[in-house]
């Protein structure tokens, strides 16, 4: 056929988002497992009390792992929500605004979580 196809979107549109979900999802498989084991399953009480939390976050490796977990889970969650919203077929300009909104929410979430970690580590 000589007629040229019309791409369904800009070339590769959506591929980056899917790759991002796969990468962040793979990271979460590790980080969430570590988080759940460390915060819930290794403790006889089932949950850390305040003193135990303070002791726990005194370890810088824990801080790095928990902040990485926060970043990846926020990324994965908001990219997933964006995919659900995009399923309803908005115009390209509306999609751009939706993306910006999710980026702002993500940045606020990570900044809040980082501040919270700073406050807890400071108490330690």
């Amino acid at each position: 056929m000589s007629v040229q196809p019309t791409p369904t979107d800009e070339p590769g549109g959506g591929a980056g988002a899917f790759l991002g979900q796969v990468i962040s999802g793979a990271a979460l498989l590790v980080l969430l497992t570590l988080h759940m084991i460390a915060q819930h399953f290794v403790l006889p009480e089932g949950l850390r009390d305040y003193a135990s939390v303070i002791e726990w976050v005194a370890n810088p490796i824990v801080v790095v792992l928990e902040l990485s977990f926060l970043a990846f889970v926020t990324w994965h969650a908001l990219l997933g929500l964006r995919a659900i919203v995009f399923d309803y077929g908005f115009s390209p300009s509306t999609e751009r605004w939706i993306t910006r909104t999710f980026v702002v929410i993500g940045v606020v979430t990570v900044v809040y979580g980082t501040w919270l970690m700073y406050a807890i580590v400071s108490a330690a």
């Binding site: 850390r48 305040y50 889970v73 659900i84 108490a123």
Partner: protein
């Protein structure tokens, strides 16, 4: 017959848009394994996002000193909340393990065996959920 109509010339209608719409993705009628996997993945995803922000909100107590957090821990270890913990772990396992299926199949790997992959992953998930439930209520 209750809907009998007289013989009449068939009218030609202009096509009418008739999509499943906003909630169509969760229409359970006629759904197959992959469709259930998709719908449950989405439901658990939405639930986990809600939990993420609830969790971040509750963690604010840690910035306020031991009193608030330790009182929360007492509540969190009560049986009704522990049941909710099991529901949460169920959601995490389903979403995470199905995510492995989506990641592999989504790049063309085992593209014709996605149903078997889902079943295998869910069996692993059921075993882990059972172990986690026993641990939660130990």
């Amino acid at each position: 017959m209750s809907g009998q109509r007289p013989a009449a010339p068939v009218a030609t209608a202009g096509p009418v848009e008739r999509r499943r719409g906003w909630t169509g993705w969760f229409d359970p009628r006629g759904r197959r394994l992959g469709g259930w996997a998709f719908a449950l993945n989405r439901l658990t995803g939405l639930g986990l996002v809600a939990y993420l922000y609830l969790h971040l909100g509750v963690l604010f107590l840690l910035s306020q000193g031991p009193d608030g957090w330790d009182a929360f821990v007492d509540v969190a270890l009560s049986p009704p909340i522990l049941v909710m913990d099991v529901v949460l772990i169920f959601g995490m396992l389903l979403h995470g393990l199905n995510g492995i299926r989506v990641g592999l199949v989504g790049y063309g790997m085992v593209a014709t065996r996605q149903g078997a992959l889902f079943v295998g992953l869910m069996i692993i998930g059921a075993i882990v959920l059972l172990a986690a439930t026993l641990r939660v209520f130990a």
